[in-house]
Symmetry: C2
Amino acid sequence: MSSSCTDKHQLEEGDILTPRFDANGLIPAICTDASTGEVLMFAFMNEEALNRSIETGQAWYWSRSRQKLWQKGETSGNTQTIVDMRTDCDQDVIWISVEQRGGSACHTGRKSCFYRRIETGQTAGQDIKLTHVDDVRVFNPKDIYGR
Amino acid sequence: MSSSCTDKHQLEEGDILTPRFDANGLIPAICTDASTGEVLMFAFMNEEALNRSIETGQAWYWSRSRQKLWQKGETSGNTQTIVDMRTDCDQDVIWISVEQRGGSACHTGRKSCFYRRIETGQTAGQDIKLTHVDDVRVFNPKDIYGR
């Protein structure tokens, strides 16, 4: 096998983590609820966030808007304990399944960030309508983050 | 409210899709199995892939490696029928829940791309070990994609 074949085989079939960060040094991280399987949120990790998540079993991310390392729940108290952590075939995505403390992963106070449905069958070029499917607020964002 | 507050409110609470593509014109797309909730794969959509997915109810993506629009399953036959489609609080991520034809979303022939676990509690700075948790091949990649 050529070197690139060996690398590809190691990447896809190997048993050592060789995460592939993007041009900004980030790797996408999908976060699901360990109890329900629902996607709670999506964020990015840099190398340090990934390392801290692995070491501590708590979810750490890189905030692109604030440009800082961020332990999920450091402000809201809604930390995430990792129950299962995986990488994908080409090691450029992380999936964590978590126990969500406080019952909310979203800064809007909802359980999940994915509270609006896009019905298929709509025609592009017109407004695509969103349907709110879960507007229950576990907390009031103003109480946590202020105005 | 200032204009930016109105925009933020519309983005987070509104009922019209205003997807926020990144600097490359792409939006991350999480794909889960509608039956089990398992994350099957992760890819990106450009505007056309997103529009086609909404219109047809079949999953379309943008292939960064091949730089082309790509209907999932166009080569393997393993198409994805969208059962539920959502966007997140700030409309920069898409989550689709699908019926996966052929039982495999991964080019390696496995059901899911996420077939390796990262055990937490490992120490960064040393090799981080991966544990294979599902190596069942639904198909042989060589039969589908050639060598």
